[in-house]
Amino acid sequence: MAGLASLPLAYLLIRAGTGGAEAWEVILEPRTGLVIGRTLALAAAVTVLATALGVALAWLVVRTDLPARRFWAVAAALPLVVPSYVAALALIAAIGPGAPLRGAVEALPGVERAPELFGFPGSVIALTLSTYPYVFILVGAALRRLDPALEEAARALGRSRAGVFRSVTLPLLRPSIGAGALLATLYTLSDFGVVSLMRHDVLTRVIFQQYRTLFDRDPAAVLGLVLVVLTALVLILETRARGRSDLGGGGDAAPRPPGRQPLGRWRVPALGLCAGVVLLGLVMPVVVLGLWSLRGPSAAAALAALLWPAGSSVAVATAAAALAVVAAVPVGLLSVRFPTAFSRGAERLSYGANALPGVVVALALVFFSSRYAGPLYQTIAVLLFAYVVRFLPQALAGARSALVGVNPQLEEAARGLGRGAPGAFTAVTLPLVAPGLLAGATLVFLSTLKELPVTLLLRPIGFETLATEVWSATSVSAFSRAAPPALALIVLAAPIVFRLIERTDERDARGEALGAA
């Protein structure tokens, strides 16, 4: 499985290899170093901010008495369904040059010019808004799964709340924080839409220039390999950060829901944080899309035309999510339960492709499938396979952080009581890791829903998804027609996220009721 997921890597090696010395010269250009530096700075900034934001929000909605916390639990996850270039366009429309908000700020006494949005700042804001939900969803799932007994023990032994959070909760959350942060980093490394709109020159823009203006795939492949090396560095860092929390301890068979901490005077600032994030990441893009669609002729006609693409989107996204989870479980299991160099390597390899821009993954799969899977090329089968390759790390992040939390002794006990290995896994481990798997599946579902480059090149002719509809309208600047399918993406995704959060929350609610009784 991991081998298949590393096809894009193999492709880059082939291309960079056939390119000869000329293709490698691109690395030696002085500007390339500058661009790599900029790429790393952006990835670092986005990762730190997205992680801080994701953990803070997850803690607020799961562990505190935040008012309307179930609403915030769903609303704060939803920016994930907003395509990041839409988030960037909304930012530009709302606080870019010529925007009323900016005018208002500049009219304030003592303000000569509002700070520049384009470049680093705008890229960081837009990408943070698009990636913190990865951390939020994974850490949220972990917090709900966490056995409060340890924290209670630490409290009973006299630790302060902050101390417990630092010394007990945080270490237990490390696998899910690491997994979420990793996804945020990889997303940032592979993003092209935001940095192009924000005019920030990072590696993906240089790669796109090789493809789009020089029509040269070889130096593009070499730069792609640079991205892979950066990914490898990030993965090493993440492995370090995982540290000893990897031991698969902790997990109790039936975690009780923890008590909720009263926010007290922090209630208003906490609400402000939630509202601010949801406003920037969800409300603003929806409003901008709404305004665009008003420019268009008829919303009813637009909606009717969306039924078929919407159905296609949901169908492929569902199938991709299911397949990705099925593929992720054995890889995750192997690396958690039998952490050899090989199993670790296999798992890490699956991440390699995720930091690459979508078009590179798409071309890699064009290369292999048109050659070796001729009859399947440009059919749904290869398209689904491509989605799994591209988004396996997201399913893996969910599966792995859940598997780490399950004590293998439970399964061993079941086997001792006479269950076979598969039976013990289904009866014991699977129910325990279900929330994690579901979180992973949701991430893959949402990513597939808005996926474009792979879809464009590998879909069967005439197969339209909501993302291709958005693309085909924006490619002729028909923003009014791009808006309805983009809104449909958000509307379709919302109930899925809602169900995911509700489902895990219901369990909390049941537990609370029991506790009260």
Partner: protein, 337 residues
């Protein structure tokens, strides 16, 4: 998720699988089937394919995508490409595919319909519609008469902080290549450096450039002529206008969208013939606001006639070989990463 809710999309998926299971094959010798890779948007050229199907009875399958990405796809597919025809947004993408040796030579009578400037000297691709480089300007702040007649004048410090363009865009690079062939590298380099000193805003593409002008970020942008008409379809009050430079000025290069044939056959020939027929050419004049390339078909009245634009007298087929040095020149001026 309830069981039924999971089942429905999966059923839909199965239906789709059944419907889309067949992969497109190149038509090759089949006179009634054709697979086209189109780098031009469905919104623009979809009706053209429909008219072709109606008038010839040929069944056309079209894969839409970005021209450069489709060119790369054809490169990766090699001999296995299902495409019979590559219909591209710009001459550069066609040249790139021609370089891989995948394009068949087009017949003389077809090539002869188009001015030799607008086709491959080797006869492997032919332009079917033209687009002119123009200066788009903010009509709230400028009038056409205040604008210079040559693109060289924009290197003057008077324009400092007032210009924007997409330096990595294929159309901009073709224009710089054209300038190099027309006036030489030294003058082009000096112009690029002058422009860079004017601290231009650098954007990703032509549309972003026009939108930035509309937002008031800067006053003039170097772009292709037809994006303005696309945007106006939706926002008739867009405060932007096109300014055509003097005839023969490098700033008024005329580039083309065109086609090349990957798997030759009767259907591919009929398609190429149709695009360069009076009917096909009228479509570009009326529906896409482009320049017809067939003599005798007039462009839309709002456009300055092709004869009056002229542009530098440079065969587009030569621009491909210049691309690499052009990109380096633009980069050395500090305009691209």
């Amino acid at each position: 998720m309830s069981r039924r809710a999971t089942l429905l999309p999966l059923l839909a998926l199965l239906a789709l699988l059944a419907g889309c299971g067949e992969r497109p094959e190149p038509a090759g010798g089949d006179p009634n089937r054709l697979t086209v890779y189109s780098g031009r948007a469905e919104d623009l050229v979809g009706p053209l394919f429909e008219r072709f199907e109606r008038s010839t009875g040929v069944d056309v399958e079209v894969r839409y995508g970005d021209s450069a990405e489709l060119a790369a796809t054809i490169g990766e597919e090699g001999e296995n490409s299902p495409a019979d025809v590559f219909f591209a947004q710009d001459a550069g993408a066609l040249g790139a595919v021609a370089e891989t040796g995948r394009l068949a030579r087009l017949p003389e009578p077809l090539l002869g319909k188009v001015d030799s400037r607008f086709r491959d000297p080797g006869g492997r691709w032919v332009g079917v519609s033209g687009r002119a480089r123009v200066v788009a300007y903010d009509k709230r702040r400028l009038s056409g008469r205040e604008l210079p007649r040559s693109v060289f004048d924009f290197a003057d410090p008077r324009w400092k902080g007032r210009i924007g363009f997409p330096p990595t865009n294929a159309s901009f690079q073709a224009f710089v290549s054209g300038m190099r062939l027309a006036v030489g590298d030294a003058r082009t380099k000096a112009w690029l450096e002058g422009i860079a000193a004017n601290e231009p805003k650098l954007l990703e593409n032509n549309v972003q450039t026009l939108e930035a002008i509309a937002r008031g970020e800067f006053e003039v942008g170097l772009v292709n002529h037809y994006y303005l008409y696309e945007l106006r379809a939706e926002r008739p009050d867009l405060p932007v206008e096109n300014h055509f430079l003097a005839p023969g000025d490098p700033g008024s290069l005329v580039n083309v969208a065109g086609l090349g044939v990957l798997h030759d056959g009767p259907a591919a020939q009929r398609f190429a013939d149709y695009l360069l027929s009076v009917e096909g050419q009228r479509f570009f004049a009326t529906d896409t606001a482009e320049y017809p390339l067939l003599a005798g078909v007039r462009p839309d009245d709002a456009l300055r006639p092709l004869e009056d634009i002229k542009g530098p007298d440079i065969p587009l087929g030569r621009l491909g070989q210049e691309l690499r040095s052009t990109v380096e020149l633009i980069r050395d001026a500090g305009l691209t990463p």
